[in-house]
Symmetry: C2
Subunit: 204 residues, 2 copies
């Protein structure tokens, strides 16, 4: 059994703290990947079901289609945030500039899963844990990841011809970057305030 | 900007690989916590909304009530897995033995959230990322975390008197442990096979 040291705890802390949500204008083009996918495959999963699948997208035509869907949905979002002028100037995806895109899928189970008999969402949550593993691993390799959520999952599934037993959980843009910001961009810009631990913890 | 080294990448990899879902029989009693909660607070969140809240439960009466709910739901689960004799012998929670329990909540937003205008689940997924940060940080401190999912969220909310604008995402049992298994227990027992990366990745 591995026992981690104070120094190793500090390294994980640094990686967690230094992770950023990366937008397109900071992507370069280079290769990686196997280590990152390995780290997803060691994520926790309900009943050891490992219900994740990854579609790695290099094809430019597909990416252009995904980008068009983003533009369409972001046009609607701009209206929603009409009263906050800043929204229009935010870069919210890196679909075309990144080295590659990954669609992260949840494969719906065909039979009962241990631990998922009451809370049906547990399978999806396992997939999210896998994404977070990938995100931290990427950061440790100094590689940027951006999660693009202004997309209709059904439309993305159609573009990628994904069968209906899958659910799209996340759409990621991945690649080497010029820089990682010291502070989340939305914090610096004052879009939202950083919460303190005290604000989000209660004792019973 | 921090650039991580090969050695640091290997440490994160070790932490991710050595993380285990911990059941009650391996919990001791000791203290930690602030570092773990700090790591959750540095998780990614849609539109920097940080929609997570944590209820830390030490009270034994509350825990007993949660345990009763587990027993009730697991009785039903045992019937579902009637054909797999092994299920009955599995230890699936550490509610009473662990040092403390944490209910992890999603606070539903009162107004529109950047990035959540199309995919309403993004807020919940941010909370799951926070749980995975906590889980890895705990492992780096050689502290065990078990996610108990055989519970009805509504019942847990009632026991803990959680207002209705919150959704229960995860129920965690946390504490020092005697050992971390080298391999996930459900893999060793043959409940599910470990998937290879090749099985879960496709290229487009």
């Amino acid at each position: 059994m591995i026992k981690f040291t104070h120094k190793e705890q500090q390294i994980l802390k640094q990686i967690i703290t230094a992770r950023r949500d990366i937008r397109g204008n900071r992507f370069n083009k280079k290769e990686i990947l196997n280590e990152l996918l390995n780290s997803t495959n060691n994520a926790p999963s309900v009943g050891f079901s490992q219900p994740w699948e990854f579609v790695v997208i290099k094809d430019n035509d597909k990416r252009n289609e995904v980008y068009k869907e983003f533009e369409k949905q972001n046009k609607k979002a701009k209206k929603i945030f009409d009263s906050r002028e800043m929204y229009k100037s935010l870069k919210l995806e890196g679909i075309k500039e990144s080295y590659l895109n990954i669609a992260v899928l949840y494969k719906k189970p065909k039979s009962d899963i241990l631990g998922q008999t009451v809370q049906k969402k547990m399978g999806e949550y396992s997939v999210v844990c896998a994404i977070q593993n990938l995100w931290l691993s990427a950061r440790s390799y100094n590689i940027g990841v951006g999660w693009v959520s202004i997309l209709r999952p059904k439309k993305i599934k159609k573009i990628l011809q994904i069968p209906k037993e899958y659910k799209l959980i996340g759409y990621l843009c991945i690649g080497y970057v010029d820089t990682f910001l010291d502070t989340p961009e939305l914090e610096t810009l004052g879009w939202e305030k950083k919460k303190s631990v005290e604000e989000v913890v209660r004792w019973v």
